[in-house]
């Protein structure tokens, strides 16, 4: 009897329970309970003029938008398991992840949307925690959450919470957009005495700008997010716990832009870690990226966790780290700027771009040999973000 599948219809009680402690299907129905959820949980957290309109869509002013400006638009979904981990939860990732995708385009992040898919039976307390984290992360990142959606799926058909966030940002005038760049040579003016290019002259920040001779920097030590997640899944005990590095990277990018540093490419190092990101770039541009193992920053405890779990830190996910590829002549100045910003205070140079062998990332090992750093095969760590 217990295993009998429902046949033609399912009975449900017509009187909605005032379900305070858990999500029920009716929360996704669009009726009273949905309304309650929005009014009690989402609106108070993200209070802003656009949301308060309670309209189907948000109509928004774009500060800084003028002739020559460009919009950046991105979307990302978050299915991390466990929902809550040392250093954060799925809410932090959902905000910072999308903020960072905008930042990697050189765009000032402005607005986010959030779509929630909740599983029947989810504890309301968990939802509150996640939403509260999103509010804090959004405030810190300087973004407003202006529109959203909620659906509820049957118990067993979801995993607590799935979140999709889309984001809009503005790229100040002068940086050509990716459509314009395709097929065009970058416009460089003669470098002035400072060596820095003015805003109007800089080419777009995108992998297509990467060239042999460029320097490769990373904004901090690797592997914290992945290990924080695994520490829960594997029940690892730490003397002092490793926390996820989830954070907004915009302050670091903004500092680089304001200092007039010419940047060729910015990429955050999420799934698949530094190795995957650099492989994508090397593949796209048919270049060789050469890394110095001795220079790659990994915290001792993170390294230890990787040893025990048989992981390579180069492939472990980060949620608050990025790689910057820029002209060699700008590397020192860029590091100076980055180190003054909290989220990138441990920035360091890790390698350089060369012409050959193409489509390859090579590591010069600590003991002086060379090896290729390949693309990740299969899923090393599922549901990491």
């Amino acid at each position: 009897m217990a295993d009998a599948k429902p046949t033609t219809f399912t009975l449900s009680c017509p009187v909605p329970r005032v379900a305070d402690d858990r999500i029920v299907l009716a929360h996704g129905g669009g009726g009273r309970l949905t309304h309650q959820l929005i009014e009690k949980i989402f609106l108070p957290a993200f209070a802003n003029a656009a949301l308060e309109e309670r309209h189907d869509g948000a109509v928004l002013p774009i500060p800084g938008l003028r002739a020559g400006s460009r919009l950046a638009f991105t979307t990302d979904s978050f299915v991390v398991r466990p929902l809550i981990f040392p250093g954060g939860n799925i809410g932090d990732l959902a905000v910072n992840g999308t903020v960072n995708d905008l930042a990697m385009c050189g765009a000032r992040p402005l607005y986010l949307s959030a779509g929630f898919i909740l599983e029947e039976g989810l504890e309301m307390e968990t939802l509150r925690t996640v939403v509260s984290s999103m509010r804090e992360a959004a405030a810190k990142a300087g973004v407003k959450l202006v529109t959203g959606d909620t659906k509820v799926v049957d118990k067993g058909k979801g995993d607590g919470i799935f979140i999709n966030t889309s984001g809009i940002g503005v790229i100040e005038s002068g940086l050509a957009n990716s459509f314009e760049r395709a097929g065009l040579q970058p416009r460089h003016q003669e470098q002035k005495e400072t060596g820095a290019l003015a805003l109007e002259e800089r080419p777009a920040i995108s992998p297509s700008a990467v060239q042999p001779g460029d320097a490769v920097l990373v904004s901090g030590d690797l592997g914290r997010h992945g290990i924080a997640i695994l520490s829960v899944r594997e029940g690892l005990e730490f003397e002092s716990p490793i926390l996820s590095d989830t954070a907004s990277l915009w302050p670091a990018v903004e500092a680089l832009l304001n200092a007039g540093i010419e940047i060729h490419c910015l990429r955050d190092l999420t799934r698949g870690g530094l190795a995957t990101t650099l492989n994508e770039i090397a593949g796209d541009r048919d270049v060789c990226i050469k890394l110095e193992e001795a220079l790659i920053p990994v915290d001792e405890v993170v390294q230890g966790a990787c040893e025990i779990l048989g992981l390579d830190p180069l492939y472990v996910a980060n949620e608050g780290r990025f790689a910057a590829i820029l002209p060699e002549a700008q590397a020192a100045a860029a590091l100076d700027v980055l180190k003054k910003v909290d989220v990138s205070r441990d920035s360091v140079r890790v390698g350089k771009v060369e012409a050959a062998p193409g489509r390859t990332v090579v590591l010069h090992s600590r003991i002086g040999g060379n090896r290729v750093v390949d693309m990740l095969s299969g899923e090393q760590l599922p549901r990491i973000c």
Partner: protein, 376 residues
């Protein structure tokens, strides 16, 4: 990390490589037995530091790789039973069977779980009394003490819903089989350091003497392997054929006696099929005496269709060091970690996996294009 990081020191590595270079006057072929050593070599680009006269060949030291295909098929068939929770080390999941791998049946709904220790599997049996928990006990002698303990504790605690599918293989018989083959090109061995931590190295003395090969018990860090090579080359140059212990911080001549005693209590030596190499007498372990009740082979009858290997997989030649992975026509073309034709491409200790991940390709040997450190 202490007793790990120091053995990755660049200066020390250069000094050892320099010493090897000075010692070497003629070509020598040395085999490192254990897959873990193969991975360190390829991952650190260690061969770049060696003089051209030294050729390293990779041995059959990958228990995942040598597990017979019939046993994979049996594991898959057991895992598909609804009452079974099938536990295994992560490596075994993607090893191809005749038709499916454990990973395939897991995706189809079988309860297959990755564990890090056989005691984890035993714990699952205790907390899931209504299920049959089966642990895929694969490994060299290194893992035998752990598996023996799992069986012993199960017996001690009266756990009945637990069993082991055993695929233990022993190193010395494999080395002998290799050495007695006509194709053998190996002149010196780096023996598996962790196997010897458990078993000691006395059983290698008759091998060194009979086949006239130096055998150096070696660790797994770059400095260990470089020192092991130095010791082997020194013996070869001086015409000695002894057993030496490089990994003396962990290995004693007699090995770990309590571990050996527990192994003898639970297991007995038996003939074993080695995937790619054929049957080698007295080269495996099977459960004995009162522990036979935990033998999954006996508990789960199996129709036993003969296994079907991919005709293109040359794992046997790879495991004997006769061919290198990038010399296989299917390597990185038809055979990749996502679609492996054989075991060495999926195991974390497999030579093909090491070559694939660290950049050796067949048509495009990237490694060959890399600038090597200034030659000596």
């Amino acid at each position: 990390m202490k007793f790990l990081s120091e053995y990755r020191d660049q200066k020390a590595a250069e000094q050892l490589a320099d010493a090897i270079g000075k010692k070497t006057t003629r070509p020598w072929t040395i085999m490192e037995v254990c897959g873990g050593q193969t991975h360190t070599i390829v991952k650190s680009g260690l061969e770049d530091l060696l003089p051209r006269e030294i050729t390293l060949v990779h041995g059959p030291g990958c228990p995942v790789c040598v597990t017979p295909i019939e046993l994979i098929d049996k594991a898959v068939s057991i895992a598909q039973r609804p009452e079974v929770i099938f536990c295994s080390f992560g490596d075994m999941l993607r090893v191809p069977g005749s038709r499916k791998s454990l990973f395939d049946v897991k995706a189809e709904g079988a309860d297959v779980r990755i564990v890090y220790s056989p005691l984890d599997a035993l714990k699952l049996a205790k907390t899931n009394r209504d299920r049959q928990v089966v642990f895929f006990a694969v490994g060299f002698e290194t893992t035998a003490p752990a598996n023996a303990m799992a069986a012993w504790q199960a017996d001690h605690d009266g756990v009945e819903n637990f069993s082991l599918l055993v695929s233990h293989v022993l190193v010395p018989p494999a080395m002998e089989a290799l050495l007695s083959s006509d194709h053998c090109v190996v002149q010196g061995f780096l023996a598996a350091g962790h196997v010897c931590t458990v078993m000691g190295f006395e059983e290698y003395l008759p091998i060194a003497e009979k086949y006239k090969v130096p055998i150096v018990v070696t660790g797994f860090e770059p400095l260990d392997i470089l020192e092991g090579i130095l010791m082997a080359v020194t013996q070869l140059e001086e015409g000695r054929q002894e057993v030496e212990n490089q990994y003396s911080r962990a290995v004693r001549r007699e090995g770990n006696r309590p571990a050996q005693e527990r192994i003898s209590e639970v297991f007995e030596v038996s003939p074993r099929q080695w995937r790619g190499l054929g049957e080698i007498p007295a080269s495996g372990f099977q459960l004995r005496g009162r522990f036979q009740k935990y033998d999954a082979n006996l508990r789960f009858p199996f129709s036993g269709e003969p296994g079907r290997e991919s005709p293109e997989c040359i794992a046997g030649l790879i495991l004997q060091g006769i061919k290198k992975p990038h010399e296989c026509p299917a390597f990185a073309v038809k055979c990749t970690p996502e679609n492996p034709l054989g075991a060495p491409m999926v195991s974390s200790e497999g030579a093909c996996a090491a070559y694939y991940h660290y950049g050796r390709r067949q048509t495009h040997d990237v490694h060959a294009e890399l600038p090597s450190p200034a030659s000596r």
